[in-house]
């Protein structure tokens, strides 16, 4: 059984590596964006392990992106150091946010994180001295903007998204998982078994934010121009939770499947329905929440068990 998994994963990764041969620039662009949102969705799913729902992952994403932008503007562009710094600063924000949130109920956390992302967006827009306000800033491309830039970016994003999935898998197989799951199910009972709930909630928050911050940094370099509406936008926070929801909450594969299914569905709808595609997209989401709340992976697991 295990060897089958290894085979499937190897095949999938191998197939992904070959994609630039088959795809045109536009399709490749969409795959890159999908992979970036996959990283964000995976990190959101890690936070969910401790029963904290974030509506503010756009905040971490934007912090990562703007850190990269600011570092490149003030100093030499030092890729990939600035991307890592972006992740670390996002994680620092998460520690502060985690300390505030760790005693709250899950719904209050959702509202606080939503406010966090919105406040950051408004701050950047209203105070031009921070980062040129609503005009946005230019970020130099990672590989110098030469002809193969897009393909190189694709491999970088693929590598980082595989790293994030490995990280999610490592958490699942480590001691952390037991603490996360215990805190998720019952904080009081977890405490009685020696688990410090606050500590693990904050760990989950910062790991999740770090990954999202890194994704934001890569996005900034790839698009090479960022403005507050894009990187702090609500759509990033929403995608981050809709993708695991459709794919399967609490699973590692869930965000992967969710991100690819939703992006391809979105593209297909755009072709057939034109500007009304968001309505069809919304209907699909509602259908998933109502009829398949355990997601595609959860549904497949249930079928397999029968």
């Amino acid at each position: 059984m295990k060897s089958i998994y290894v085979l499937v994963v190897t095949l999938a990764v191998g197939l992904m590596c070959c994609l630039p041969i088959f795809l045109g620039p536009h399709s490749l662009h969409i795959v890159i964006l999908t992979l970036i949102s996959l990283i964000v969705a995976t990190s959101w799913n890690i936070l969910l392990l401790t029963h904290q729902i974030s509506l503010g992952h756009a905040g971490f994403f934007g912090v990562g992106a703007y850190t990269c932008g600011a570092l490149c503007e003030k100093f030499m562009p030092i890729v990939p150091l600035d991307i890592l710094v972006g992740g670390i600063i996002a994680a620092l924000f998460a520690v502060i946010l985690g300390v505030i949130c760790c005693r709250m109920t899950v719904w209050a956390i959702a509202i606080v994180t939503l406010a966090f992302a919105e406040v950051l967006k408004v701050l950047v827009i209203m105070v031009p001295s921070i980062a040129d306000g609503a005009e946005g800033i230019r970020v130099p491309p990672i590989f110098g903007g030469v002809g193969y830039e897009k393909i190189a970016c694709f491999y970088l994003v693929l590598f980082v998204s595989l790293l994030s999935l490995t990280c999610a898998y490592a958490i699942r197989k480590s001691k952390l998982y037991y603490a996360f799951a215990a805190v998720h199910d019952d904080e009081e009972a977890a405490g009685m078994l020696g688990v410090n709930p606050l500590k693990f909630k904050i760990i989950a928050f910062s790991v999740s934010a770090f990954m999202t911050g890194v994704a934001g940094g890569i996005f900034a370099h790839y698009i090479s121009f960022i403005d507050p509406y894009t990187v702090f936008g609500l759509h990033i926070s929403l995608d981050a939770q809709i993708m695991p929801l459709v794919g399967g909450l609490y699973t590692i594969l869930g965000p992967v499947i969710g991100s690819f299914v939703l992006t391809s569905a979105g593209e297909v709808f755009r072709i057939y329905f034109g500007s009304g595609y968001l309505i069809a997209y919304g209907c699909i989401l509602v259908a998933f929440v109502l009829f398949l709340p355990e997601g595609i992976v959860g549904w497949a697991q249930r079928l397999a068990r029968r």
């Binding site: 480590s174 001691k175 037991y178 603490a179 799951a181 215990a182 998720h184 199910d185 019952d186 009081e188 009972a189 977890a190 405490g191 009685m192 078994l193 020696g194 688990v195 410090n196 709930p197 609490y250």
Partner: protein, 246 residues
């Protein structure tokens, strides 16, 4: 030297005095029952010892070391395990994984995963749950849920176990088995403090009893002494001739 000393502890919820000046000691290796009518403060007392609440005044000492004001996870690592009145398993995990949470995090230095798994497995065996080790906890019946609570607490390798109504809802033969289990746990050197309504279990197990009523200690002593204590009878059954006079 007593293992646990409760010294003149008070606890208030708003204007209600839930625990009013309770003191008692527990000695190494003994089985002490904490009894009292509904609402007398037994579970509150447990929560004070475990660090869920911190007392309004007074001290709790464990092995001569102040534990008042510590958080539950710190108290757990000092060697006090606890089961809940209403079993609180982690529903997303199997029996083994539930017990492993205790065996990984229950001690000062957390075990590596492999050792924690072996240790959890041996606890599950010793509690007679080896057939259920891979069952999702939502599929367990009540007696097994109660045993799982015990397994989780024991996996933290406690010196003392606080048991909150582990017999509640069990039928007579299951109660007998549970009594045997608890005696075996005690013979391994674990001190037991338990809250129980089922008098048969209390009389069969307890070496000493502390009786609470309205948050105050009204009696302490061997089971035989306590059941003959007038104040205790009054607390449970009301004053004699109350109805005649009333």
């Amino acid at each position: 030297m007593p293992l646990l000393q409760v010294k003149d502890v008070y606890m208030k919820f708003g204007g209600v005095m839930a625990i009013a000046g309770v003191s008692f000691d527990i000695h190494e290796g003994e089985i002490l029952a904490l009894i009292g009518p509904n609402g007398s403060g037994k579970t509150t007392m447990f929560n004070l010892i475990c660090g869920v609440f911190s007392p309004y005044s007074g001290h709790i000492l464990f092995r001569d070391c102040q534990i008042t004001g510590l958080k539950p996870y710190q108290i757990c690592r000092k060697g006090i395990g606890r089961t809940f009145q209403i079993a609180k398993p982690f529903p997303k995990m199997t029996v083994l994984e539930n017990v492993m949470v205790g065996s990984i995090y229950g001690k000062k230095n957390s075990y590596p995963l492999k050792k924690a798994r072996e240790m959890a497995m041996s606890v599950i065996h010793s509690m007679g749950m080896e057939q259920k080790w891979d069952t999702p906890v939502t599929e367990l019946t009540l007696p097994y849920k109660k045993r799982l609570e015990l397994c989780k607490a024991i996996a933290t390798e406690p010196h003392m176990l606080l048991l909150d109504e582990v017999m509640g809802g069990l039928n007579p033969s299951e109660v007998e088995e549970m009594i045997k289990l608890l005696k075996r746990i005690q013979s391994n050197g674990v001190t037991l403090l338990f809250v129980e309504h089922l008098m048969r279990a209390v009389m069969g197990l307890a070496e000493r009893m502390v009786v609470l009523n309205h948050g105050a200690k009204i009696a302490e002593g061997s089971p035989v002494e306590v059941v003959e204590d007038l104040q205790v009878i009054e607390a449970y059954l009301g004053k004699e001739n109350q109805f005649v006079k009333g």
